[in-house]
Point group: C3
Chain length 311, copies 3
């Protein structure tokens, strides 16, 4: 079962393999499953951006995408996520892409399905394809991870990718530092210290801005936008202090004029739209990895007697 739930389950070798396959897709390589393959995208938390990216990846691989409207699904009638996933498995879906607002929603599914699950984001937990596309973008730019300094800046506590990226980049040999509002710094990550915003931006090879997730802040503590930009955002002045080959990254959607000056969004250093482009290729690679495993196994034979072997 080739699930992809968190970055932790991937070895450095796995990560490099996925990035390498994604780069091959970016270079025009094609791959299609041998038989008609069905996938469903279960987005219990809306995310048009990530959903469109997965849809694009799925179409490029020639998969059939079964529409699933989480807003009107039986989950609303009290059905468990397991029963929903099991239903889709029973009707012939070969792989599930799931986003859910609950942290580690996938614990309920582990080892209980015969089809793979790809995590497209769980609560404040993980978002492995976002991490992988970030890594791919860095690799494209510098050809390596070793010796790079990555500054992760902003709403670290509510970010699904800050922690995953910090851990993965450290494993890959980069140095990670955090910056932004000190009260949003999460010492619990245990990797990478807090650095002053001007120092972090002036010395990093990658300035990785995080989105302020207004919708996740229960308290209305968020500062006025212009004030945030001046104190902790990437202003034009700070951009001029960046190292000559340093790049700007952001997972989007961007709050223009908050995390970053609007004029910098598409500047020569920005890889923001490149990240989105890479996201499709990463998702193709992750889907291929999941599907090859299925087709290598004998899921179709099992599926005819699932009821007799279950439990």
């Amino acid at each position: 079962m080739r699930n992809l739930l968190t970055m932790n389950e991937l070895s450095v070798h796995d990560i490099e393999g996925i990035i390498s396959q994604a780069q091959a897709f970016a270079n025009g390589e094609g791959w299609f499953p041998e038989s008609q393959t069905m996938v469903a995208n279960l987005f219990f938390e809306p995310s048009t951006r990530t959903k469109c990216s997965f849809e694009m990846a799925e179409r490029k691989l020639g998969l059939e995408v079964i529409p699933f409207d989480a807003g009107t699904s039986s989950v609303q009638k009290g059905e468990t996520l397991y029963d929903t996933a099991r239903t889709l498995e029973a009707i012939g879906v070969n792989a599930l892409v799931i986003r859910h607002e609950q942290d580690a929603y996938f614990d309920e599914l582990k080892g209980r399905l015969s089809i793979p699950v790809i995590n497209a984001g769980d609560g404040c937990g993980h978002h492995p394809t976002q991490s992988l596309l970030d890594l791919m973008t860095i690799k494209q730019e510098f050809g390596r991870f070793k010796g790079l300094k990555i500054a992760i800046i902003g709403d670290i506590r509510h970010s699904r990718v800050a922690r995953s990226n910090a851990v993965a980049l450290t494993r890959l040999g980069s140095e990670v530092v955090f910056s932004g509002p000190p009260e949003w710094f999460d010492e619990g990550i245990g990797i990478g210290g807090y650095e002053d915003i001007d120092s972090a931006i002036g010395t990093a090879d990658v300035v990785m801005l995080l989105r302020i997730q207004h919708e996740r802040h229960a308290e209305k503590e968020t500062r006025a936008d212009a004030e945030y930009l001046q104190r902790f955002g990437l202003t034009k002045m700070r951009e001029r202090s960046m190292k000559p080959k340093a790049i700007i990254m952001h997972p989007a959607p961007i709050n223009r004029g908050v995390e970053v000056d609007t004029d910098l969004v598409e500047c020569g250093r920005s890889r923001i739209f490149k990240q989105m482009e890479n996201g499709v290729f990463i998702r193709m690679a992750v889907l291929k990895r999941a599907i090859e495993q299925i087709k290598g196994g004998n899921i179709h034979e099992n599926s005819h007697q699932k009821w007799s072997i279950a439990r």
Copy 2:
């Protein structure tokens, strides 16, 4: 016009033909229409489960599915269902799958469209593909209907399938009894008497549980869940009294711990997920039956002069 609106319009021969075709699909047979064929699923009442099953069937037949969002459709602006259906016909949709909260919504459409309508559920009325998949599951298990005893248990009055299944099974030679809360028993069905829950479960070949449709109960008469399970549900103790080869069926979504003990959902007797699997094959057979009729006719020639022959 090969509509499928209710089970009543199908002869025993028709039913056997559909089940036989569905079984051929389950065994791996393929069938595709000769030319590009468009279908739209109009779900005015949400049902992710049934919609996904139809979508899967449609994809397996190579049909193009035109997305239709009932929630934002012109029906909300006061358009009649007929005008909506007629519009889809005009733009080239070759078959309609419709679920609607109004009983017999299809009376408005009968004889007025040149494309077939497949009923995916009307109010408290009919749900013929659900009935057919239930019949297919029983046929697979026992190879026959004659001489079987089927116990239909639960919310009979609000069930779309209780009546259809009772009528069809009786025509096919089975004996049908009902059980569950006596006040939910509907004498109006005119087929099959009421039997005590323990007796029904202990003597039936098929224990067919119905979902308690909390959302259809205007009155808040529904009992506490645990109490319902003890009095009228399939407990582990009752399961042990079942005949050796008897099976458990449920149309899903399941209220775990209400109609059935959660540990029995995937037990060896359960055909609940098998029913879902069969549902796709039944819908393929029903769609094939509708489409063959279209393509046999000359709908495309008509469609260019529809305006001149209408009315």
Copy 3:
């Protein structure tokens, strides 16, 4: 860049070319892009009818349609329309079809995207594919525009097509008059005078009824339906006064018994469902025109370095 934003940007030659291509599609001609082509339909204002028509056109051309749910998109989180469109471009969408409640929403996008935008309706502004399908329907009927008298009747002020059609038809050589409630007549159009309802209907070759857009009338000034029909609608009596070969058109959805007597909706003169049928072919022609331009250009080469040439 082969955008289609308003009718104004099309020459008479362009209009004739699009109608001619649409007629070829109606006659059974096929056309498919050389490589996999992705399109997204961004409907920020719901319109099942227009969306289904575009979807049908896209499927008939073999395009891949990436589902986009405007209701849950990042636009709701404050993302600009430009950033949303740019995102879809980055992930590989080759053309955008957009409907938006804001007049001239496309001004924000002009010259900033490398993929074409097809306007499927902007606020009270434009709806060029609706105009083109109206023109195609007239052309089919009369073989010409010169010398025809077109009466546009009803809610002119709130209509996206009244103005566009009036301008285009005048350029093509037809005479345009307006009728309906005098207070809804918009002198600002500058083309075509106001004519009494009975005179307009009795002398026109084309009686083009507009939908009363209840949802756009802030004031509850709309008259009782039956009264509207008698005073300004197409009653059976007025229909009898129409010229022998005159036709009835309406953009739909129809308010039956308001703009038109319900018995006339599918009468021999009515081209209402024919318009819908033509709409698919017009949209195919418009999409082909946009896509040929893309594939003729070198968008794919650009897309790999978009980030370096942007801004």
